[in-house]
Symmetry: C2
DNA sequence: CTGAAAGCGCTAACAC
DNA sequence: GTGTTAGCGCTTTCAG
């Protein structure tokens, strides 16, 4: 690998001049041309490691998510990536697997690798941001708040939960269950809260049996749905707490011949790879990509030195009611 | 951030000794203890950038994939990640978006950041590996071969295509179409070849109209399925070239009331988030995770200095025939 | 087993 | 505008 010294020698200038050419500061046109030509010839690529060591910062941001296999998070990742690469930053995607330990490891790497900032969808409420904050790195929390005082981009979860439940009520369902995510995750409890309020507001039955906390995964949705169907008095509709829970619940229903809308289903999130008729299920689509875009912009502002008080952006889901009714 | 000098001073040893403690070479027990204690106290984390600059290599591998939103690739990513992190490596996930330019950018970053190696699912046959190879970094190709002479882990695509088509033939379908991926991607053409052979072997109709090249995405599957149904003599079954094509095709079928098995469907790949009864569609499940695991192990061997001739590992799909027949 | 010292490749003062 | 030079924090000979 060629270095700036090789280029400098070939171009007949000093290493500093080569560096300047690659960093856009005042160099005379002839020298710029000479340097570029020499660099070309030697296939010179600036060594980012050396630059990072010297500058004490790198154009890399870390994106830490709890489930890389969930399309909701990968869609968000696309948003982050688009904004970041536009601004000359690369994104490294870290999968915490919803484990606080793995998450800490990645946060440690982000510090040790001098990454410029972190966007994180926290694994749980126990997520520990003290080290990364102490290192002075900007952090933006997405999807879920974290205890600390950092910028946040979250969804209007309560509203989403309420809209999903109300859509079902309006469609005439009377006994509406809710399969929520883990009880220690803010998004899950907020959506559940929205569901509860919708039922109360419409004088519908809010049987505690009808609320199930599970995992934000397909098998979580399956298990909870099975348990609900096994109830002495099963529900006639269900609100799924996220996309994967929705998939699991609908799988079970399909296997039992209860395909929506025979049993009403509303999902907080999208069903990206559904093979179901898109009109049979109510969706509250969450703008995942937009969340990523917003978070990335905020992070870049912070990296650029913006020191205003922390902000919280709340994004709204879009109701797409089922058009096929039972 | 504390450095080894701070730790050395506090522990009363030399910086070299601190370095040795953190790299597991012979240091007396007392000094090890002193250093560890000092490091703890100062919350010292080794600066990876400096280490990388000095060592000319970092414990990071790049995983370049064409579509981060495709569960097939994220599942593979999990496999890579598990093996890598076990071995103390981190994985940075790069989304080439099936564009050769983006892919080159990431490959350039991999070089400039001194990453130890690359696992790549090539964007197309035009993928250019010369720079990364010239830089002496080990490369493993996954899912699709690349022109160059590198280790490969691929699927038995021809067999998968054949098995999918044969399953449909055995179920009694007579006019079996195939929606393939892009014509310039090896996996697509090989699976199509398998489909063709199955039809020929069973004396079935191999109307060229029935073969459609599209994209490996949901909309590709949708468009091709619609075109097939618009044919004067539409097919009675279809082999989808990958998971997302399968989703798109089934979506269209569902909208037209042709839910499988009314029109037979076989998919090369899995339908991870399907809400369909799992027995209505034939699947040739591809071991994506295993592909990632294998590729990561091979790469790690190369990084460790293994210089044997390049290997190609072919992984076999698993047929899971539809159990509900028409 | 341990320490001194020389860089890895680059950038940023500081001179000229 | 341009060159000289001193590190960024770490590893790794080379002595001892």
């Amino acid at each position: 690998m060629a270095t700036i010294y090789d280029v400098a020698q070939l171009a007949g200038v000093s290493p500093a001049t080569v560096s300047r050419v690659f960093n856009g500061v005042g160099v005379s046109d002839e020298k710029v041309a000479a340097v570029r030509q020499a660099a070309e010839q030697l296939r010179f690529t600036p060594n980012r490691t050396a630059r990072t060591l010297r500058r004490q910062s790198s154009e890399v941001i870390a994106l830490v998510i709890p489930d890389i296999e969930n399309p909701y998070f990968t869609e968000m990742a696309r948003g982050v990536e688009d904004v970041a690469s536009e601004a000359g930053y690369s994104v490294v995607l870290c999968n915490s697997d919803a484990q606080v330990e793995k998450e800490s490891t990645y946060l440690g790497i982000a510090i040790a690798e001098h990454m410029s900032g972190v966007i994180i969808a926290a694994a749980s409420e126990r997520t520990d941001l003290t080290a990364i904050r102490a290192a002075g790195r900007p952090v933006v929390a997405v999807d879920r708040g974290v205890g600390s005082d950092v910028d946040e981009v979250v969804m209007a979860n309560r509203d989403a939960g309420r809209a999903a439940a109300e859509s079902l009520i309006e469609a005439g369902y009377r006994r509406i269950a809710h399969i929520a995510g883990p009880e220690n995750i803010e998004t899950a409890t907020e959506r559940a809260e929205g569901w509860r309020r919708a039922l109360q507001a419409h004088g519908a039955e809010a049987d505690p049996e009808l609320l199930r906390f599970s995992s934000f995964r397909v098998d979580g949705g399956r298990e909870a749905m099975e348990a609900l169907l096994a109830l002495p008095e099963p529900p006639d509709a269900v609100v799924a707490g996220n996309n994967l829970i929705g998939v699991g619940a609908i799988q079970v229903l399909t296997e039992r011949g209860l395909t929506p809308p025979r049993l009403g289903v509303a999902v907080v999130g999208s069903l990206p790879f559904t093979t179901l008729s898109p009109t049979a299920v109510t969706l509250v689509r969450l703008p995942a990509r937009h969340m990523g875009v917003t978070a990335a912009r905020m992070l870049l502002e912070r990296i650029a030195g913006d020191a205003q008080p922390t902000r919280t952006v709340v994004l709204r889901g879009e109701l797409q009611p089922a058009s096929v009714l039972r």
